[in-house]
């Protein structure tokens, strides 16, 4: 089956990758880590990277489904 997701990058991560949003299409089951690998063309993953699927924190081995929004970002610094 053909699937499509949205990938988002925030803050310093988006600046370093020089993009903040992309659409990814795939046909097999992917995890969050696979999404990173594929969407960044295999760039090394920062050690402190955080990830979310559909706006909930998610582990790198979480599965990704059609229509999901996957986000990657650095440690949060609000407050």
């Amino acid at each position: 089956m053909f699937m499509s997701i949205k990938v988002r990058y925030f803050a310093s991560l988006g600046e370093n990758l020089e993009r903040f949003e992309s659409d990814l299409e795939f046909s097999e089951t992917l995890t969050v880590a696979d999404v990173w690998k594929r969407d960044t063309s295999g760039k090394p993953m920062p050690g402190n990277l955080l990830a979310a699927v559909n706006m909930e924190y998610a582990g790198l081995d979480s599965p990704v489904r059609d229509g999901d929004e996957v986000a990657f970002f650095p440690p949060v610094t609000g407050g």
Partner: protein
């Protein structure tokens, strides 16, 4: 429970007054309110800071803040709670965050307010980019643990 993200400067005292007015029907139950206000300093890590830009993840940030208030309500006996957080460009002296809780007893009010603030610091998707006095810009890399004794 209420969460609000402001793109413009806000007055925390006014926010508290407005929210407290919504509780007028149950005033008799309230025995304690605890309030935390975080404001921007003009220095960080030894250097002067002119201004700061706060980025967030619309949708997820509100969701995580709601979740934190929900967790606090499960853990302590609270009547109500409020988070107001800034986004966009801010300057030294500007309020960044307000957390407030209303409870019947002070123990719940003190502890829940602290919990909400510390959880916000570690889990709410906000990122600060500082413009230093030197004209250089830098991202704040991480938040410190508020419980750590320095």
């Amino acid at each position: 429970m209420k969460v609000k993200i402001c793109r413009e400067a806000f007055d925390p005292w006014r926010e508290i007054q407005v929210h407290q007015a919504t509780l007028s029907g149950i005033n008799g139950e309230i025995g304690a309110a605890n309030i935390f206000i975080g404001t921007m300093r003009d220095y960080n890590e030894g250097v002067g800071v002119q201004s700061m830009t706060l980025e967030y993840y619309p949708g997820m940030t509100e969701k995580q803040l709601d979740k934190i208030l929900g967790q606090a309500a499960l853990r302590w006996w609270l009547i109500d709670s409020l988070i107001v957080h800034r986004a966009g460009e801010i300057r030294p002296g500007d309020p960044i965050v307000l957390t407030a809780v209303w409870a019947s007893h002070r123990g719940d009010a003190f502890d829940a307010c602290r919990f909400i603030m510390e959880e916000l610091k570690s889990a709410a998707p906000f990122w600060k980019k500082e413009l230093l006095e030197s004209g250089q810009a830098r991202w704040v890399e991480k938040n410190t643990d508020g419980y750590r004794k320095t």
